[in-house]
C-alpha cells in the first residue's frame, strides 16, 4: 500500500506502476490526480515520449518536453530495465506493492518478458493489469502499424469533418486518439478497483485505442448509417448558414436550430441584433420552427445569414463572448490558447495551477484539477519526474536496497 493516509484523495490507498509511452500516459495522470501513488517506470536513460515537442524554451532536451510535463504530473519516476533478469525481479517486487500496472507495449510483449498478467497474478493475486494498444490484444488488425492520424481516420470521426474540396481533416498537433485510449483505460481501472473491493479479485483489462476513438464517433457517423444507411459527408449542411462565423479578429461559433428548438435558442441572437440595430424585419418575423437546414431554400438562409454576419463582424471575439452572456445567446469564440490563458471564467474558478520546476528555476502554469469536489478533491501538486528522480527514494527508501546494491544496479544499467 502507498504511503500516506487513505482519506485525502479518492484513490490515496492505491499504487499504480506506469510503464506506458505516449499512448497511455493520461491514464496514470488521471489516477495520480485522484490521489493514487503513481510510479512512472522508464527505461534507463528515459522514455521515448520525452522526445515529443514542444519543449521548454524550444530547447530539445528529454528533460524539457512539454508533452512529457503535461501528462506525467503527480507521478514519481524511476528507471528500470525490465528486459534484464534482474530488472524483471525488481519489477515483480514492485508489483507486490502495487494495485495497478499500466502498459502500452505491443500486444504480447509483456508475456514475452515473462511479465504478462498470468505471471503477475501469481505474485499478487489482486493485481489489476491494463494494456493500452492501438487495436487491442487480439484480432486481425492487432499488429497494424499506427499513428494518431491513422487511428483517428479509422475511428470514423474524421470522415465527417472538413471541407468538401479537401481531404477529411483531423485535429492538429498531439494525439487525441491516445488520450481517449488513456481516458478509457482509467475508467477500466476504476471499475476494476471497485470490483476488487467487492470480490477481492484483480483482473486484466484490454483497451483498444481504435475502439476508444470509435466511441467518440458521433451519431452522425455510425448511427446515421445504422438507422438510415446514410453517410454524413464533410462540408455537408448548407454553407450559407454555417456555424463558424467570421468576426473582427477571428471566428465565432453560432448555430441556428430548426424545429421547436429554433425559437428557444435562436431568439436571443435576434434580440441581440435588435439591440444593435442590425436586425432586419425579415429576421425579426421569421418563424424559426419552419427552419430546416435540408429543405429551407437558399434565399431564405441568405436572409438569415446576412444580419448575423453583420452582427458578428462588428465585434471582436472577446466582445462577443461577453455580449453573448448578457444576451443569453449561445455564441462562443473559437479560442486560441492565448485566449484560453486569459479567460476570466477560468480565472474566477482558480483553474490554473502553478507547479514548481526547481531544476529550471521557474514555475509553469498547468491546466488545473479536472473537478471541484466537496471531499477528497483531485489535486495537481507535483511536476513530472526527471529521469530516475525517485530512484533513491523508492529503491533505497521504500524497498530497502542497500547503498551497495543500489550502486551495483546503477552501474549494471539495470536502473
Amino acid at each position: 500500500m502507498a504511503e500516506g493516509d487513505n482519506v485525502s484523495g479518492m484513490l490515496s490507498p492505491y499504487r499504480a506502476l506506469d510503464l506506458t509511452d505516449e499512448k497511455g500516459l493520461l491514464c496514470g495522470k488521471m489516477l495520480g490526480d485522484l490521489g493514487a501513488d503513481v510510479i512512472k517506470i522508464e527505461k534507463p536513460g528515459g522514455d521515448s515520449s520525452r522526445n515529443i515537442g514542444p519543449y521548454y524554451h524550444d530547447e530539445t532536451d528529454p528533460e524539457k518536453s512539454l508533452y512529457w510535463f503535461s501528462y506525467n504530473t503527480n507521478k514519481r519516476g524511476i528507471t528500470l530495465d525490465i528486459e534484464t533478469p534482474q530488472g524483471k525481479e525488481i519489477f515483480k517486487e514492485l508489483v507486490k506493492t502495487a494495485d495497478v500496472v499500466i502498459e502500452s507495449f505491443p500486444p504480447g510483449y509483456m508475456k514475452e518478458q515473462g511479465l504478462g498478467y498470468d505471471e503477475l497474478e501469481k505474485i499478487n493475486k489482486d493485481i489489476i493489469v491494463v494494456s493500452i494498444t492501438p487495436y487491442g490484444q487480439t484480432g486481425p488488425y492487432k499488429d497494424f502499424k499506427y499513428s494518431d492520424i491513422t487511428l483517428y481516420a479509422m475511428g470514423g470521426y474524421m470522415s465527417s469533418v472538413g471541407d468538401a474540396d479537401r481531404p477529411p481533416v483531423r485535429i492538429s498537433h498531439h494525439f487525441q486518439t491516445y488520450l481517449h485510449g488513456g481516458g478509457q483505460a482509467a475508467q477500466g481501472v476504476l471499475l476494476a478497483l471497485y470490483q476488487r473491493e467487492m470480490t477481492g479479485e484483480g483482473q486484466y483489462i484490454d483497451v483498444s485505442i481504435h475502439d476508444s476513438t470509435s466511441r467518440i464517433t458521433p451519431e452522425r457517423v455510425t448511427a446515421f448509417w445504422d438507422f438510415s444507411k446514410r453517410i454524413q459527408h464533410r462540408g455537408g449542411g448548407k454553407a450559407i448558414l454555417g456555424r463558424i462565423w467570421e468576426c473582427k479578429d477571428g471566428y465565432v461559433y453560432a448555430m441556428y436550430w430548426g424545429g421547436t428548438a429554433g425559437k428557444r435558442w435562436n431568439g436571443p441572437i435576434v434580440k441581440w441584433m435588435e439591440s444593435e440595430g442590425v436586425a432586419t424585419d425579415f429576421i425579426k418575423e421569421f418563424n424559426w420552427e419552419e427552419l430546416s437546414l435540408i429543405h429551407t431554400p437558399p434565399e431564405i438562409l441568405t436572409k438569415i445569414a446576412e444580419p448575423t454576419r453583420e452582427l458578428f463582424m462588428r465585434h471582436t471575439k472577446a466582445e462577443l463572448l461577453e455580449a453573448a452572456l448578457v444576451h443569453n445567446a449561445q455564441v462562443y469564440p473559437l479560442n486560441s490558447t492565448a485566449e484560453i490563458a486569459s479567460n476570466r471564467q477560468l480565472a474566477s474558478r482558480e483553474y490554473w495551477v502553478e507547479l514548481d520546476h526547481p531544476e529550471l528555476g521557474t514555475t509553469i502554469t498547468y491546466p488545473g484539477p479536472f473537478a471541484k469536489t466537496t471531499e477528497a478533491p483531485p489535486r495537481i501538486t507535483r511536476r513530472a519526474p526527471l529521469i530516475g528522480e525517485h530512484n533513491e527514494e523508492i529503491y533505497q527508501g521504500e524497498m530497502g536496497y542497500s547503498e551497495d546494491k543500489f550502486r551495483e544496479l546503477n552501474q549494471g544499467g539495470i536502473i
Binding site: F69, T365, E375
Partner: protein, 490 residues
C-alpha cells in the same frame, strides 16, 4: 444471470443529450441500476427532433440498459418523486445548465437532506461557479471555447464544423470521479458533490499546447493534416466508389412529380416516356437520362429530394444486384480516403517499396524528412497519383503489409460493415428496439477479463414508470394511477 460488476449500485440520472448520458452509460453497461428521468414537457433535443420521441435514434446510443421514467419535474408531486429516487440512489447525475437543478428544487443541498451520503455530480459547460456558470451551450460551442476548433482544419480557411467533440472528453473524467467517490465513500462513509466543467476537462486534451503558450508564448495554429515530425502525413484520396439509389416510380402522377424535381428537362416530355408501360419499354434509355441527374448528387441528396414528393428512394446496398434491380440509378461516386503516416526513415523505405519504387521516390527532394517537408505539396500530389488507383481498403492493406502506418478514413458504413477489428471485438453490439428494430450501439472500448459488457437496449419514454415507482419506491397501484391521471407521470 451472473452478477455484473456494478450490481447494486443505484443511480438517479437527470442528465440529457450526451455528456451526462455517456457518463452513466458505462456504469449502466457494467450493471448499475440507472433510472433515467425524463419529462414529456421537457424532452431532450434528440427526442424532440425525431418524428416521435421513441424514434430518437441518437437516444439509443447513449442510454443503453437504463430504466426510463417520465416525471413532470415542475409539479411539486413530480419533484417529490424525483427526490425519492435521489434518496434511494448512491449517485445522482445531472448536466443541466448551471443553476437549473437548484431551480427545480433538486440541488445538492436539497438532495443531501434526504440522502446525507449521496454522491452528486453536476457536469455543465463552464462549471457551477463563476460569471459564465449559467451560460447555456452544447458540445458544439465548447469545442470552440476549449480551443479544438481553432486548431482543426486548414490555415488558409476557416476551421471546419467539428461537432460535439468535447462531449466525448468529459465522460472519461466523470466516470473516474464517480467510481473514485464510491471507493472513497466505502472507506470513509462520506458522500460528496462533484462539479465538472466541459471547458476545464477539455483543456487537458491540449495541455502541451497550453504549456507551449505559457512557457514559449507560442499560439498553436491549425495545420491541416500535417505535422512537423512526419511526411507524408495526410488523408489521401483513393479510388472513388460507385453508389446507387433505387427510385420507385410506378404511377403517372409520381412521374410528373419526379420530372418537376428534375425541373422538367425536354426529354421528360417525350412520347416514349409518357406512360408507365412506355417507360418500362424504354427503361435503359430512361435510366441513362435520369442518371445524368443523379450522377451529380449523393445518394442522400437524391433521397432528400424525393422525400417532399413522397417518392420512395433508398440506397442500393447489394452492389452485385445492380443489374437485377431495374430502377437503380448511379449517383455521385463516394470519394474515399486513406490516412498514411510516414515518420521514420524505415517507414519511408517501406512506403517506397509498397508503391513499387517509382523514379520520383529516389529523388533527393524526398530522401529525408526535412526535404520531404520542404517539398510536401509535390510529394502529396505524387502519393495521391498512386493512391487514387486503389480502393481505400486496398491502400490500407498494401501499406500495412509493407509495414507503413495507414488507416481508411472510415465512414459509418465502414465502421459497421467493413472494419474487421471492431467486429472481432464485437464493439458495436446488436440490439433490438421495440420501435426502431435491430440496431447497434457502442460497447466498452476496454474489455475486462472478469466483467463482461453485454449491452441492453435504451428505454422507451416512461417505459419503466410502473416498475420504478412500484418495485423501487413502493408506491401502490392506486397511487400510481392517481399520478398518471394527474399528469405527474407525464
Amino acid at each position: 444471470m451472473s452478477k455484473k460488476l456494478l450490481d447494486g449500485v443505484k443511480i438517479c440520472d437527470f442528465s440529457r443529450v450526451i455528456v451526462g448520458p455517456l457518463t452513466t452509460k458505462p456504469l449502466s453497461d457494467y450493471g448499475a441500476t440507472v433510472v433515467r428521468i425524463e419529462g414529456r414537457t421537457n424532452l431532450e433535443i434528440f427526442r424532440t427532433q425525431a418524428a416521435e420521441p421513441d424514434l430518437a435514434t441518437q437516444f439509443t446510443q447513449w442510454n443503453t440498459g437504463k430504466l426510463g421514467v417520465t416525471l413532470k419535474l415542475n409539479d411539486p408531486r413530480g419533484r417529490d418523486i424525483a427526490l425519492k429516487i435521489a434518496a434511494w440512489a448512491d449517485i445522482v447525475v445531472e448536466n443541466f445548465a448551471g443553476g437549473v437543478i437548484e431551480k427545480l428544487g433538486l440541488g445538492y443541498e436539497e438532495i443531501k437532506k434526504v440522502n446525507p451520503n449521496v454522491i452528486m455530480l453536476s457536469s455543465c459547460m463552464q462549471g457551477q461557479t463563476g460569471p459564465f456558470s449559467r451560460h447555456p451551450g452544447w458540445g458544439f460551442q465548447l469545442s470552440a471555447l476549449s480551443g479544438f476548433s481553432h486548431i482543426a482544419g486548414w490555415l488558409d480557411r476557416p476551421p471546419p464544423e467539428l461537432g460535439v467533440y468535447t462531449d466525448f472528453i468529459t465522460p472519461h473524467y466523470n466516470v473516474c470521479l464517480l467510481i473514485g467517490a464510491l471507493l472513497y465513500r466505502k472507506r470513509t462513509g462520506k458522500g460528496m458533490y462533484i462539479d465538472t466543467a466541459q471547458f476545464e476537462t477539455g483543456l487537458h486534451f491540449i495541455s502541451p499546447l497550453i504549456l507551449d503558450y505559457f512557457v514559449n508564448n507560442r499560439v498553436a495554429e491549425r495545420m491541416g493534416n500535417r505535422t512537423d515530425t512526419a511526411s507524408p502525413h495526410n488523408a489521401f484520396r483513393c479510388r472513388d466508389e460507385a453508389r446507387y439509389c433505387v427510385i420507385n416510380i410506378s404511377t403517372d402522377e409520381e412521374w410528373e412529380k419526379f420530372c418537376g424535381v428534375l425541373e422538367n428537362p425536354e426529354w421528360t416530355k417525350e412520347q416514349k416516356f409518357s406512360t408507365q408501360a412506355l417507360r418500362e419499354e424504354n427503361r435503359e434509355e430512361l435510366r441513362k437520362l435520369v442518371e445524368q441527374w443523379t450522377a451529380n448528387l449523393w445518394v442522400e441528396e437524391v433521397i432528400n429530394r424525393m422525400q417532399p414528393i413522397a417518392i420512395t428512394a433508398e440506397r442500393l446496398l447489394d452492389f452485385d444486384d445492380t443489374q437485377k434491380v431495374n430502377n437503380s440509378y448511379r449517383c455521385k461516386d463516394e470519394d474515399r480516403w486513406c490516412a498514411i503516416a510516414v515518420t521514420t526513415d524505415e517507414d519511408w523505405r517501406n512506403f517506397c517499396k509498397a508503391i513499387g519504387g517509382p523514379e520520383w521516390t529516389k529523388d533527393d527532394r524526398f530522401s529525408t524528412l526535412v526535404s520531404r517537408k520542404e517539398n510536401e505539396d509535390e510529394l502529396e500530389r505524387l502519393v495521391e497519383e498512386w493512391t487514387t488507383q486503389y480502393f481505400a481498403f486496398e491502400v490500407m492493406t498494401i501499406m500495412q503489409e509493407a509495414g507503413v502506418p495507414a488507416g481508411v478514413v472510415e465512414t459509418g458504413e465502414d465502421q459497421l460493415e467493413h472494419d474487421l477489428q471492431t467486429r472481432h471485438r464485437n464493439f458495436f453490439q446488436e440490439l433490438d428496439h421495440p420501435r426502431l428494430g435491430k440496431h447497434h450501439a457502442a460497447a466498452s472500448p476496454f474489455q475486462m477479463s472478469k466483467a463482461p459488457c453485454q449491452l441492453e437496449r435504451a428505454p422507451l419514454l416512461g417505459e419503466h414508470n410502473e416498475y420504478v415507482l412500484k418495485e423501487i419506491l413502493g408506491f401502490t397501484d392506486e397511487e400510481i394511477v392517481d399520478l398518471v391521471v394527474n399528469g405527474v407521470l407525464e
